[in-house]
Symmetry: C2
Subunit: 373 residues, 2 copies
């Protein structure tokens, strides 16, 4: 799992300190910026978190976790990771910090894990000591596991109350999204130790997996907390069309596969019963055709003042960065940036420096950074 | 996992049909009997269930499941099993039939499964079609997984209401038995589909694993339903001394490692606070020194009328079969049978023929059968 001998190209200083004239300034509606390549040669990076001003973690889907110094560009692989099943869309995926990370050092990882019955999303945590993960324990396993390499979801988010959200996909088995008896196709809510919050929406119902917080979700690969409101937003992949942005509300049925704005791949035939149904939520926003969204962040820094409160979403399929203008619980405008310039955008985060960071999902993936100009 | 070329010795007919005079008649307090070897050359068999009058399943800890015709002695390996981690005491362990097995063909298997963070008890089910297990899905995973090969528990039982009980061990990490935040060291209760029953004792408490039904259990490797009363009995391994028989009651704390009749191995030093404590259950019965119990059955057949209602327990350590006379919720007498004659007794079941069947936990393990004489 751990590879030490991979070359990590570090060209941050060149870009940042000398502001090389070759940097192409991107003009956009609200801000002009340049795109710096902070790191390259990443193997399908999936997620990133900032540990401190100069330190971050980057996961690679193949199973590696890198500890990167963003000032010096030095990086090292973290040892002691769980054994991930890198199959299809699955592998090592998201990273989240415990709310008290600064004192307890705990990080959470989502990953695909296999047993003989199949593969499923799991979440483990461990204590990061130097470049070693210690006392790793698996806190959640999406059950049942199943075959195939699709729709693992896997984003992690802590809310301000300290609850952990785990987004899942339907694993390509659509009925699981409507079933409360199975985890896949839902968003999970746990206490930080993996136990089930007593106020989860379905704990008082029989025949449920009490970890479920929402359901009818096809494949959720973006989740973010809206600053100032504490609303949790998520997006999910539709089939052919019908990618959605939703606000995550306890107990909500988001409708998949009964309602969707998408169609069946190839045939273009209808799925389910249409786009609306009583008792199933309408999305806040939807993309048809699909952009294949992954990664999501509300911009909250000072470096791009006109982007404050905007929601940024990576697009795998169209290889772009989407900026959504948000008014309360509505999306009122969309701007598409960086089309096909850098590849599939897998993750989007705001750094402690107020800059916007992107990961590209490529075999020579990059950590990119948007600097205002 | 699947081995077809192992010799299965079948000497049932010789014993049963011809009643060979070489059979040694065992004299015991209530019944005289002979012990037939139905099958031998089993690789550490762990559990058995009867599918029909002439058909049974036997698990081997190394990961095989055998479908055996008890009349002809023919056997075949079941294909499509989950991938088990055969480490230390763990591997493929118990087998249980769905209450509606005769119509739905579903069987449940408990086994040790590993991910990179460690190993833990899991339960999967699948549909048995011929000698193939289909649509296998993991319904439960004891979390967190951990290192080491000890104390997986792993007995399975359905009660008359259709709830599934899964017995666990503390995985050698004693504090887990008192923690409701972790599965190990408890007995689990689920619906047949793996969901959490809404009336489980801790579902309304915060910071719990709601699957937990009892806790303070060290390593439970025997569980059985008492005929006529529907009481569930279980036994568990103590450390050096203090093996216990308990009646399984929702929400009960059985005390490990705070109270126990056992001592620390080797040193013989005390464990915890003694043998009694408010709020922690006393065992119905305890063995000091430990017998290392595994397997358990209430005798309910017609072949040994004086054994009706007695509780039979296998002993690994002393290689014997224990017969306990039960009066309501008390054990009033113990008889030890077959001392060191056949090896470590791993499982004890009553067949549909009313005979008592045993498995010996040896590299040349046997399926034994007690016939009255």
């Amino acid at each position: 799992m751990i590879k030490f001998n991979r070359r990590i190209t570090f060209i941050l200083l060149l870009c940042a300190l000398y502001n090389a004239p070759a940097d192409e300034v991107v003009q956009s509606e609200q801000h002009d910026f340049i795109v710096e390549s902070v790191l390259s040669d990443l193997d399908h990076p999936w997620s990133m978190v900032f540990l401190a001003d100069e330190e971050m973690l980057i996961s690679e889907r193949s199973g590696s976790l890198m500890l990167v110094n963003t000032t010096t560009g030095e990086s090292q692989y973290v040892k002691g990771l769980p054994e991930v099943a890198a199959v299809g869309q699955g592998g090592l995926m998201d990273i989240a910090l415990h709310p008290d990370f600064s004192t307890n050092g705990l990080i959470y990882l989502s990953f695909a894990a296999s047993d003989g019955s199949g593969t499923g999303t799991e979440v483990a945590r461990g204590k990061l000591v130097g470049n070693e993960l210690r006392d790793v324990e698996t806190l959640f396993a999406a059950l049942p596991k199943s075959g195939g390499g699709r729709h693992f979801g896997s984003r992690l988010l802590f809310d301000p109350e300290g609850f952990l959200y785990i987004t899942l996909g339907d694993r390509g088995k659509r009925p699981q999204a409507q079933a409360l008896t199975t985890h896949p196709g839902s968003i999970i809510r746990l206490n930080e130790d993996g136990t089930v919050p007593v106020d989860n929406p379905f704990v008082k119902q029989s025949r449920v997996r009490p970890e479920i917080y929402t359901y009818g979700n096809r494949n959720v690969q973006g989740i973010a907390l809206q600053p100032g409101t504490n609303r949790i937003w998520a997006h999910e992949h539709g089939p052919q069309g019908g990618d959605e942005v939703n606000i995550v509300v306890a107990g909500t049925n988001y409708g998949w596969p009964i309602i969707t704005y998408g169609k069946n791949y190839g045939t273009g035939t209808d799925i389910g019963e249409g786009t609306h149904k009583e008792g199933m939520a309408q999305p806040v926003y939807q993309w048809t055709p699909s952009i294949a969204p992954s990664g999501m962040a509300f911009y909250s820094g000072d470096m791009f003042p006109h982007w404050q409160g905007d929601l940024f979403v990576g697009s795998l399929k169209f290889q772009l960065l989407v900026r959504l203008e948000v008014d309360g619980d509505k999306i009122v405008a969309e701007e598409q940036l960086l089309q096909r310039r850098f590849g599939r955008i897998r993750d989007v985060r705001v750094g402690p420096d107020g800059l916007l960071y992107l990961l590209t999902d490529e075999s020579d993936g990059q950590l990119l950074r948007l600097q205002p100009r």
